[in-house]
Subunit: 109 residues, 2 copies
């Protein structure tokens, strides 16, 4: 049985802290980045903006050690439980989800 | 500041149980479904397969009462904390993420 990659060969991956259960970020994987994640035991994504493999924490040191990878019922989304070495967000926040919708004005347009 | 809708006017929404912190599902919202979610206080998605608004639990009774909506740093993903009235998954499982990647053979192809 195969994963359902989208038209660009990607699958969204929700990253959750295995201990605190906090949702840290959502990023995208292609088959190669998933393969590298399995090989390294650390998250490797496909950066859609840079168009290249992105080993999370390679420069910042904030790697994410993979504990478990779950797949949803229709096999088009991954949930990755990790032990993070540091903050997930480039802003330095523990999680990329550090604002509420109310913090963002004019959200629904 | 606006949310970053994708080329199809959608944004992925991670749904997490506000109490157990379990990640329940990932679905997609367009502006109308987000507006309805805010109005009703229950999750309403855009069904990509059926091409219509999808009030979660409208037929099954397994609605999701919204506690909080968070936005990630680049404003292209939502995290919705909910109190679920029942299982999130159409299979009857509490969460759609009930299998590991290892359960799925030939995953990386």
């Amino acid at each position: 049985m195969n994963l359902k990659w989208d038209s660009q060969g990607l699958i969204p991956a929700v990253v959750q802290d295995a201990t605190t259960r906090q949702v840290l970020m959502v990023a995208y994987m292609n088959a190669e980045s998933l393969q590298k994640t399995l090989e390294m035991g650390e998250t490797v994504f496909w950066s859609r903006s840079r168009g290249e493999l992105w080993h999370k924490g390679a420069t910042s040191g904030n790697t994410q050690t993979v504990r478990e990878i779950l797949v949803d019922c229709d096999e088009d989304t991954l949930l990755i439980l990790v032990d993070p070495a540091g903050p997930a967000c480039h802003t330095g926040a523990v999680t990329c989800f550090f604002r509420t919708l109310e913090d963002i004005t004019d959200a629904v347009k």
